[in-house]
Symmetry: C2
């Protein structure tokens, strides 16, 4: 594999186009395979990962040592680390993907038309998927598994600090593919840390059908600027919960506290709480106590600060902040229209929830809020491919075209029309 590594920078584009051509070829092959070999490969890769644990950890130790030398912070080193448990989780994850239903080849209906032809839609792979991610080597196995299951070839470009680990994982993947009789080029890890490789990957429209960037907002914004290949992505999750007048106070507290505190760093974490003016005076004091117990700082609008002491004054920037931290913006609003107007203006289109007892307002919120997930009486933390029963998640999309919300295997496929005739012609 290292024989493919480009020696000089000007070769990077050629190198990437070589990967692209090989991926296109492998993708055609995969699209024509049945479930059997694809699932066999997934199981074989899982076995290889377990069997090669020592080699994987050695490669990872070298990455970690280099990372420590470079002065990577503790959080980055933690994400870079391949522990025994993480290697087992990668293997188990692949086996779980193997057990999912095959998304490819299904024909949804086949309807007779007045002309006599029958028209249906067949689900098929997209072709080639480009995955760009940070230095989290476990993503290499997860992403490869999802692409393989959905019949797509993939090109994986992980963070440069994890290259040795990714190579070791790629070696297991290549062995597993070979064992199942599939082309090793079905999964290719980019063998250079040159940033020009990303530039080439995101503009090779002829070789790559979709990009899935996985990482922070900064990474995705950089890719968005230059990418010509379409992307499945979300930039951030500025998620809202609106507590309606007359809501059950116990339920409201339970949902709001869970949505904020169950995990701080995830994109479906609550960032702004909107309280109807009719419920705020009774509800806000008890929410303040509950959040105090969790060490969550509340940043409130003037009206909320008039109701309870100890809130930090909210600045305009707070209404657009994705804190990913124990901080919550709080605003008192006059009814559902004001709440939806605030959401319309400040939401990132990820996930919004209402806590209400009122049927009509629940229905309005569901219909009118234009986000990828809209919830009634549930925690925003449920916005997740596994919680939605997709069985897997390649990412979350806040765009409206193609995939919206949590994206599972179906988002890595498309549907083509099929037409069956018996000599039919158009009159």
């Amino acid at each position: 594999m290292s024989a493919n590594q480009p020696a000089v920078r000007q070769d990077v584009t050629d190198y990437m186009h070589g990967l692209g051509q090989a991926a296109r070829e492998a993708g055609r092959h995969l699209a024509a395979t049945e479930s059997g070999p694809r699932n066999a490969a997934l199981s074989a890769i899982a076995r290889r990962l377990r069997a090669d644990e020592t080699a994987l950890r050695e490669a990872n130790e070298a990455d970690l040592a280099a990372g420590r030398e470079q002065g990577l912070d503790a959080a980055l080193l933690d994400r870079l680390a391949l522990t025994e448990a993480r290697i087992e989780a990668m293997a188990t994850g692949l086996e779980q993907i193997a057990a999912l239903p095959d998304p490819v080849g299904a024909v949804s209906h086949l309807d007779p038309m007045p002309s006599g032809i029958r028209v249906g839609r067949m689900r098929v792979p997209l072709g080639v998927v480009g995955i760009i991610y940070e230095s989290r080597p476990n993503v290499t196995a997860d992403a490869a598994g999802l692409c393989l299951k959905s019949g797509n070839a993939c090109i994986l470009r992980g963070g440069s600090e994890s290259l040795r680990s990714n190579r070791a994982i790629a070696a297991c993947i290549a062995e597993g593919l070979a064992e199942a009789g599939l082309p090793e080029t079905a999964v290719q890890v980019v063998e250079t840390t040159d940033r020009a490789a990303v530039g080439a990957l995101i503009t090779m429209d002829e070789h790559v059908d979709v990009l899935v960037p996985r990482g922070g907002k900064g990474l995705i914004e950089r890719i968005m600027q230059d990418a010509t290949v379409p992307m499945i992505k979300h930039l951030d999750g500025v998620c809202h919960c609106f507590v309606d007048a007359g809501a059950d106070a116990d339920m409201a507290e339970r949902i709001v506290v869970n949505a904020k505190t169950q995990r701080y760093g995830t994109c479906n974490t609550l960032e702004t709480l909107l309280l109807d003016a009719a419920i705020a005076p009774s509800l806000l004091p008890r929410l303040k106590s509950a959040f105090d117990a969790h060490g969550v700082e509340l940043r409130g609008c003037e009206r909320s600060r008039a109701l309870v002491d100890g809130l930090t004054p909210a600045e305009p920037a707070d209404w657009d902040a994705e804190y990913l931290a124990p901080i919550l913006a709080v605003r008192v609003v006059d009814g559902i229209d004001a709440a939806m107007a605030h959401i319309e203006r400040h939401s990132s289109g990820h996930t919004e929830a209402i806590v209400t007892r009122d049927h009509a307002r629940a229905q309005r919120f569901l219909r009118e809020v234009d986000s990828s997930s809209v919830m009634v009486n549930a925690s925003t933390r449920f916005a997740d491919g596994f919680e939605y029963g997709l069985g897997a998640e390649i990412g979350i999309s806040t765009d409206k075209l193609h995939a919206r919300g949590p994206v599972g295997l179906e988002g890595l496929t498309t549907q083509k029309y099929i037409v069956l005739g018996e000599g039919h012609i158009r009159e």
Copy 2:
């Protein structure tokens, strides 16, 4: 309306952003309306078009006179003309759209999850659609009708030669919208012929959710170069038909002749015929006679020219040509694999057909050919939203993401996730 017309070029971008903001606002309003007012508006617009026939034809006469002065060719003038029949067709088309089922608001399943939440998907409008088209004023009514039905606001930018006609149609649309109590800004015609307007429209990501260019390859290529807003589009239709060994010769002739000659100028017209070497010697002579009767020129590969006289030698460029004319490229191939390899290399991904008696090869062709429509024993001319039972067609997509193949009302919508809980939180 002409009060909005920008006086100088540097105002064009501001003007377009003004349309965009108004469209965004109107789109929100439309998304919250039920079917009733949207259908009422469609019927009211149809009535206005019929009632204002004289005014429409006067405006159109002025466009035609200016066009003749500019020296537009006969084909362009024909497409520009609003005859009595075309006005009636616009009105009837709107009434047909009104009669279609509402694509908006449907919730497809609502499944209970292990956590207790119920998860479903609700179909919702995309928001704002930008339509860019040539000087065919009837597209103004058709496109506006499809967007309105699907709950989207739209911004319409037709060819400059048709501006007077489009304004007159837009006046009918505005009156129909007002009659139904919907915002007139739900449908806006761009009131300037400045090309900078297109540049602004295709890059206003914040105001426009999707572009639908309708026109020739040149128009679409120009838009593709600069657009940042996603597009529903196809560049061209280099459609293939492969006649398999052992195919029914009568059926093959019927399909191939229909696919080529039923209309020459459409994107689903047959452009390249692939004949299995086993059937070519018996089939090609009779196809030659049939095409001679239609005045179709055959451009053949060496092997086909060895079988029958009178074929023009095919040049390499013929395998990639979308003739849109009475010309057909003919190539003899060795079996289905060679046919599919040719298609893979030369197809534009629009529509391909196989004529065969063999079940296994029919299934392989359906599965492995990567085009938006794949057909067995039917004419490529069936690739059409109406023939597929979509009830309407905004365009055809050869892209793989979002919509693929003929695009009806569903392609102007998206699905968001909805979650119903009863106080559920994530453990």
